[in-house]
Symmetry: C2
Subunit: 197 residues, 2 copies
């Protein structure tokens, strides 16, 4: 006898496609769906289809958007552009309520090992925006890993000759960390980038 009847096996298989979800977790999720009222399960399924139908990328900055141009590009001044790897980075920054400029989503970072070069990510879109004028500063907010650093450096080398100020998010020891537990790279970086008090 097969362990799961077909509809349950199929749903478990679908849930297993989610990141970090193994069979046991997928099984728990499937049971939750089975025990939901039909109306609630329908809302769940609708939300999945709805997101595929109504979420696209802003034609200016490449962030998630419901319309051709996203809400950020519509209303904010475009003299400062924060460059990030993925749309979810925009959300991480927006949560801070700290930054009031616009974004540019690269949809990737330069990674020769994975065969991703400068032309495979949205650098051209950034240059086009800058060519239209009005941009004073570009903040490179790519991840502090090898690919992120390389991408930041590459773009910075392209923009500096244009007279654009290019900055990079500060690295160092995270707030609230004990020195002894800080990772060595961050601690070393904190020494190099130390600030005068």
């Amino acid at each position: 006898m097969k362990i799961y009847i077909e509809p349950i096996g199929r749903l478990i298989n679908e849930f297993s496609k989610l990141p970090g979800v193994g069979t046991k977790t997928a099984q728990r999720y499937a049971y939750k769906i089975i025990n939901m009222p039909t109306e609630e399960a329908k809302n769940f399924a609708d939300a999945i289809m709805n997101v595929k139908k109504n979420v696209r990328y802003c034609s200016i900055c490449g962030n998630f958007s419901e319309s051709d141009i996203c809400d950020v590009c519509k209303i904010r001044p475009n003299d400062t552009i924060c460059v990030v790897k993925e749309p979810k980075d925009v959300i991480a920054i927006e949560k801070l309520n700290e930054y009031s400029g616009v974004y540019h989503v690269l949809h990737g970072t330069i990674s020769p090992l994975d065969g991703i070069g400068p032309n495979d990510i949205n650098i051209k879109g950034l240059l086009d925006r800058i060519a239209k004028g009005g941009v004073k500063e570009v903040i490179m907010a790519t991840n502090p890993d090898v690919e992120g650093e390389a991408t930041a450096l590459y773009i910075s080398n392209l923009l500096k000759p244009l007279g654009i100020k290019v900055s990079r998010l500060a690295h160092g020891i995270p707030i609230g960390t004990d020195l002894e537990y800080a990772d060595e790279v961050s601690l070393a970086r904190a020494f190099v980038d130390r600030k005068e008090l």
Copy 2:
């Protein structure tokens, strides 16, 4: 500005309803859906609706089934009935390939604190099945917690006067555990239920 656009916020909210899923995890799942091909997302949504439409409970044993009577009840001899709390317990036992009798799913255990009495779980169905004759042994495989033990005892007291053999899954120290790490209750139980070699 709201952090998430509506379709994404809605999907994150739906994923948050799954057991053990917080906002961060729900967000990761939502991104995965956004980045799926539309066809794949459609299959996902379909699998959710399909499970609600096609999964019901077997009218004999109460396990998940696609038809009125489940595959187990259809083909297996009914002289041994294994009584479990939930359909997922059936799956756990089926995975062993050890048991070849039929099941009875109580859909709950007696729990006075939660207001669940013997009439709120499917004990009557079990008695009806036994009244039809042919049942020689009932194996109580409810969980080894207070409610599970109480339920096993309650049902056992009902069945013994009928001349049915009632057994209970063995408790003791799990295979592969060091004695020093075994929990005290299981270790104590292992002493009480010790077997002659």
